[in-house]
Structures are given as structure tokens and as C-alpha cells.
């Protein structure tokens, strides 16, 4: 995943400017616009936001800095900076970025802003910057920071260092008890679904963050151990958190997920580019084709990469129709594609694989199945050793062919080559 950073061009004059530490942590490079940044009243920024916020006189509703954190200056500065950046970089409402770092910066900043606003329970605050969510290509990062930690992080002006704590929070004992370090927020994007759900149960602000940040749910990958537990209802709940911006959905061996649920998920998230349902036994090839056909006829099919290895009964007709629906060229050069190796029954390719469809015509039996390459040195590059798992038996562990070589059959009727079945040497005491 990528960074949350600005692609502003470096200006040498910045090094000569007086240090704007109070705002420098987040607003580095805008000190030349200090008049705009610091003079904007906070309420006027709300008035420029979504219409939902404009009818309320915010000044009457705002608490006047109840915790003595000099919040107005901080918010004014951040608000003004966000506005300036918005003007500079424009908006991409499509939600599918090209990895543009500007969008990542927005995503991160909107995340900060939404949570800062929420912490102070400003009315209708979540609507104001909500439109900034959904940028980027899923590799965006955001962080979140409560007003307390904003000041903590920014407050080097008083010569104080950011207070160190053993964890990611400091607890001022007040109403806003959990002041979370912004660095922690970035790490959320490296968590799997189960860990995200655990984090959401830790405290209210993290719950809000996990549920409301659509960027966390842009790529959803469900495998062990959640695959056997996830139900249709749970999958809908998770995918709804992407707020229509989900781009990659991979369900590995999710035996409870039905075709109806998959259809609903794709109808609610029409920007899905990569879809994988390997081993989902309640989903059939006909069901997948029906869903893709409906989306295509509505002009809303964005799927370009499909993983269906393990679905039974895929015929040549199904295969050709899939190519047609996904607009995949049939003469793609194999040399530019990554080899696929057999390993514990799973295809060793990640969401980054660029093949249009994972299955292909087996060169030996001509059925549409997952075709494996051979990792053995003596087989590398040989077309004779590319075939499905029924045509060429492979080692369960390393994936090499074991046609004529020594092998061991395990209790689960899988095969291990001579190297993998050898017991590992004992370590000296």
C-alpha cells in the first residue's frame, strides 16, 4: 500500500521561511498562504461544504474550546489548508484513481478531519467533508487524530516534544479519553478483515473509524479463518462500508456465500475491477455468468480480472462467454504473465495478478481449469509441464511434477516429492 503524501513540488524558498511548527506538521509548504489559511473563519468553511451543513448557524452551536486546546486556530488552519489543496488538485469523483498521490493525500486528510470533527460532536460535521472520501485506488492511506492529539503532535511551538506513551494513546482522563497517534491510523490499512473487526471493538473512536472509512474496505479479501464463518448478511455489512467504492473482492472458500448475495454486493459496488470466488461452493459458473451479463447489459460492468478456479463444470462455452464479457484478448503473451505454482491446493497468485481469468484451457485435456507451471529447474519454461492438476500430479508442498520421480502419498491422498517428504534435520541442542 502506498503513502499518504503530497506531490507538491519542492520549493527551495521553504527552507528559508520561518518555521511554522504549529501548523507545519500538516501544512508544510503553505506558509506563503498564511493569510488565507489563518484568516478564514471556521464557519465559512462549513458554508462552502455540502448543503446539509449550510442551514445551521454553526457559531451558535459550537462549544468554545472546552478543553483549552486552542482548537479554533488549529481547525481554521487545517480547514483552510484542505480548501487550498482542493482547489489545487481538483476532485475525482469517480473514486477510481490511478494511484495519484494527490488523492491519497485527500483521503488521508479527510479521514483526519472526519474523526476530528466527530470527536467534538459538531452537528452535521460528517457531511461537510464526506465528499472527500473515496479517492484513490485503494492503496490510499489515511490517518486519524483527535483534536487532542492534533495539538499534541503539532505543539512543538512550545518547545515540548510529543509526549511518549507506551501505546498509541494518551488518556487525558477527560471526556475524549482516547487520544490516538496519527501514525497508528496508517497501520489500519495493513490489517486483515478479522483484525479490523477486533480493532473496531476496542473503543468508540476506532469503531467509528473502521466503520466509516471507506478506504479501509476498498480491497476485501476473505480467507482463513473467516471464510467458513462469513454469512451473506455479514458480507453485505462489510462491503457496504466501502460506500460503493470497492475495487477488489476476493472470497476464498467461502462456503456460505450465495449467488444472490454476490449479485447484491456487485450491484452496490459497481467499481469492482477484480473479483475472485475460488472454492465458493454455493456459487456456480452459471450464476457468475448471469451476474456479469446483467451488469454488462446495464452498462455497469467494470470487472476486468476474474478468479473462479475451483468452480465445477466450466465448459468451453462458459469460458468463451467470459472472455467476451470481460473483453479479454485471447492472444495475450504468456511470457509476460507470472507462473502459477501448485501449493496446498491453492493457486499461488495474489490480487495483483494481471491475468484476465485465472482458468485457461489445459494443453493436455483441453478442459477449462487452473493450469500450473512447474517450479523444478529441469522443467522451467517447458510447455510439456504446463497442465491442470488432473493431468500432471504435483507435489502438494512445492508444486513440482512427480510423474516419474520418487514420491510419498499422504494420509489426505496428496503427494509429496522426495525433497518435501524428507524429515527436516534436527537442530543441535
Amino acid at each position: 500500500m502506498a503513502l499518504n503524501f503530497s506531490q507538491r513540488n519542492f520549493s527551495p524558498h521553504l527552507s528559508e521561511e520561518p518555521m511554522k511548527i504549529a501548523n507545519g506538521y500538516l501544512v508544510e509548504g503553505v506558509s506563503d498562504r498564511k493569510d488565507d489559511v489563518f484568516s478564514h473563519p471556521w464557519c465559512s468553511s462549513l458554508a462552502k461544504g455540502d448543503s446539509a451543513a449550510s442551514s445551521v448557524d454553526i457559531l451558535d452551536v459550537l462549544p468554545s474550546d472546552p478543553f483549552g486546546m486552542d482548537i479554533n486556530n488549529t481547525f481554521t488552519a487545517i480547514t483552510g489548508w484542505l480548501q487550498d489543496l482542493e482547489v489545487d488538485y481538483g476532485r475525482d469523483e469517480s473514486g477510481i484513481g490511478d494511484g495519484n498521490h494527490h488523492h491519497q493525500l485527500f483521503a488521508g486528510l479527510s479521514f483526519i478531519w472526519n474523526n476530528a470533527m466527530r470527536f467534538h460532536e459538531f452537528p452535521e460535521s460528517s457531511n461537510v467533508w464526506g465528499s472527500l472520501n473515496g479517492f484513490g485506488d485503494g492503496s490510499c492511506h489515511g490517518s486519524f487524530v483527535s483534536p487532542g492529539s492534533v495539538d499534541q503532535v503539532l505543539d512543538v511551538r512550545n518547545g515540548g516534544e510529543v509526549a511518549e506513551s507506551s501505546g498509541c494513546c494518551t488518556n487525558d482522563g477527560g471526556e475524549n479519553a482516547n487520544v490516538v497517534h496519527p501514525g497508528f491510523g496508517f497501520s489500519l490499512y495493513h490489517l486483515g478483515v478479522k483484525d479490523l473487526l477486533s480493532v473496531s471493538m476496542v473503543c468508540k473512536s476506532l469503531h467509528t473509524t473502521v466503520c466509516d472509512d471507506s478506504l479501509l474496505w476498498k480491497h476485501i479479501h476473505i480467507s482463513q479463518p473467516l471464510n467458513e464463518k462469513i454469512t451473506d448478511e455479514a458480507l453485505l455489512q462489510l462491503t457496504d462500508r466501502a460506500q460503493g467504492t470497492m475495487q477488489c473482492l476476493r472470497l476464498v472458500d467461502c462456503s456460505r456465500i450465495t449467488e444472490d448475495c454476490l449479485k447484491q454486493v456487485l450491484e452496490r459496488n459497481r467499481q469492482v475491477v477484480k473479483l475472485g470466488v475460488p472454492g465458493c461452493i454455493r456459487i456456480t459458473i452459471d450464476g457468475v455468468l448471469s451476474i456479469l451479463r446483467d451488469l454488462k447489459s446495464a452498462g455497469k460492468l467494470q470487472v476486468k480480472h476474474l478468479e473462479i478456479g475451483g468452480l465445477f463444470g466450466v465448459t468451453k462455452d462458459h469460458y468463451e462467454e467470459l472472455f467476451g464479457l470481460l473483453n479479454i484478448e485471447t492472444n495475450v503473451e504468456r511470457s509476460i504473465q507470472k507462473p502459477r505454482f501448485y501449493h496446498r491446493g491453492y493457486s499461488c497468485l495474489s490480487c495483483d495478478d494481471n491475468k484476465g481469468i485465472d482458468i485457461e484451457m489445459c494443453p493436455k485435456c483441453e478442459n477449462s481449469r487452473l493450469v500450473y507451471d512447474c517450479p523444478a529447474e529441469y522443467c522451467k519454461g517447458k510447455e510439456e509441464c504446463r497442465a491442470c492438476s488432473l493431468c500432471i500430479q504435483r507435489c502438494f508442498q512445492c508444486g513440482r511434477c512427480i510423474n516419474d520421480s520418487e514420491y510419498e502419498e499422504t494420509f489426505c491422498l496428496e503427494f509429496l516429492c522426495a525433497d518435501c517428504s524428507r524429515p527436516s534435520p534436527e537442530l543441535p541442542l
Binding site: M1, A2, L3, N4, F5, N9, F10, P12, S15, M19, K20, I21, G24, Y25, E28, H141, V153, V156, E161, E164, S165, S166, G167, C168, C169, T170, N171, A177, N178, V180, H181, P182, G183, F184, F186, S187, Y189, H190, L191, G192, V193, K194, D195, L197, S198, V199, S200, M201, V202, C203, K204, S205, L206, H207, L226, K229, I230, T231, E233, A234
Partner: protein
């Protein structure tokens, strides 16, 4: 060939003299190669303690000129091992500061390494209570709210 050296100044006044290869690892600092040779470049958002760690990381990740990146899986392993030791020795609050510094300086490898450390720490916790203890977070749920949140996620944790 003499290498050009650059001076980075942390927010608390510490100076770090580094060569061009180190500076180039930071997307933020790369342009200064043309502009700031021989002058101090202040990095206002990063303290000396953290900048020291950043410089140490970058020095170890300098790609040797003329080196063949494909030749050395063993040196790749050694670097990975160094990275693991580097990030594991720190406490979490230092890691958070390192994340912010790597984000500002745009050093992707360091950013990912530090974020992954935090993610691993969370993944190692067996439940949300252990995450609270590890991260030093006090729950602000009432009993009813907590029961509601647990129910919302009970499908994943039975």
C-alpha cells in the same frame, strides 16, 4: 569520485550529514540534490531521535552502484533480516513517529515496514481486550454499547 554530502537538520537542531544516495531515497528530499548542496536543509516535522533512525534505514538501503539487483537473494535476505531487527527493537511510540516521518519524507519501504510492525502487533493479540492493553487504550463503551458491538461482530468470533 567525491560524493556530494547534504546536511539535514532536525526540528530540535540535530544535524545529519548524508550523501546523495541517502537523500534520493526520500521523494520529498530528492529535489534538494540540485538546490541544497552545502546548505542545511531543515526537516521541521521530525525530531533528531527519529531522523537518526530514518538516516540509519536509508544508509542500509542504499543500492550499490552497478549492483545487480537480481544476483543477490542472499543479500536480499540479509537486508530483510536487518529490517526485522531494526523495526522490532523499537517501542511502539517510536514506530508511530517513524511512520509519520516516513510519510512526510515519502520513503515507501520504511513506511510499509513501520506500519507492518504495528499491524503485526495487533494481529498477535488474541482479542480486542488484548489490543486495548497493547495499545494503551481505555474502553469508553458502556456495558450495553460493548454488548451491541460484540453482537455486531459475533459471526467472526464465535
Amino acid at each position: 569520485m567525491t560524493k556530494e554530502m547534504f546536511t539535514l537538520k532536525s526540528s530540535d537542531g540535530f544535524l545529519f550529514v548524508v550523501d546523495e544516495a541517502v537523500v534520493h531515497q526520500s521523494v520529498t528530499l530528492s529535489p534538494m540534490v540540485q538546490d541544497c548542496a552545502g546548505r542545511e536543509y531543515p526537516i521541521n516535522n521530525v525530531t533528531g531521535k527519529i531522523l537518526n533512525l530514518v538516516v540509519e534505514y536509508c544508509k542500509n538501503h542504499v543500492v550499490v552502484d552497478g549492483g545487480d539487483s537480481s544476483s543477490s537473494s542472499s543479500s536480499g535476505d540479509a537486508l530483510k533480516k536487518w529490517d526485522d531487527e531494526f523495526i522490532t527493537q523499537m517501542d511502539l511510540s517510536t514506530v508511530y513517529d517513524l511512520i509519520m516521518a516516513a510519510n512526510y519524507l515519502i520513503i515507501k519501504g520504511l513506511f510499509d515496514l513501520a506500519c507492518q510492525r504495528v499491524a503485526d502487533e495487533i494481529a498477535a493479540c488474541k482479542d480486542h481486550e488484548e489490543i486495548r492493553a497493547t495499545l494503551g487504550i481505555v474502553s469508553d463503551y458502556t456495558a450495553e454499547e460493548e454488548a451491541e458491538v460484540l453482537k455486531e461482530n459475533e459471526w467472526a468470533f464465535d
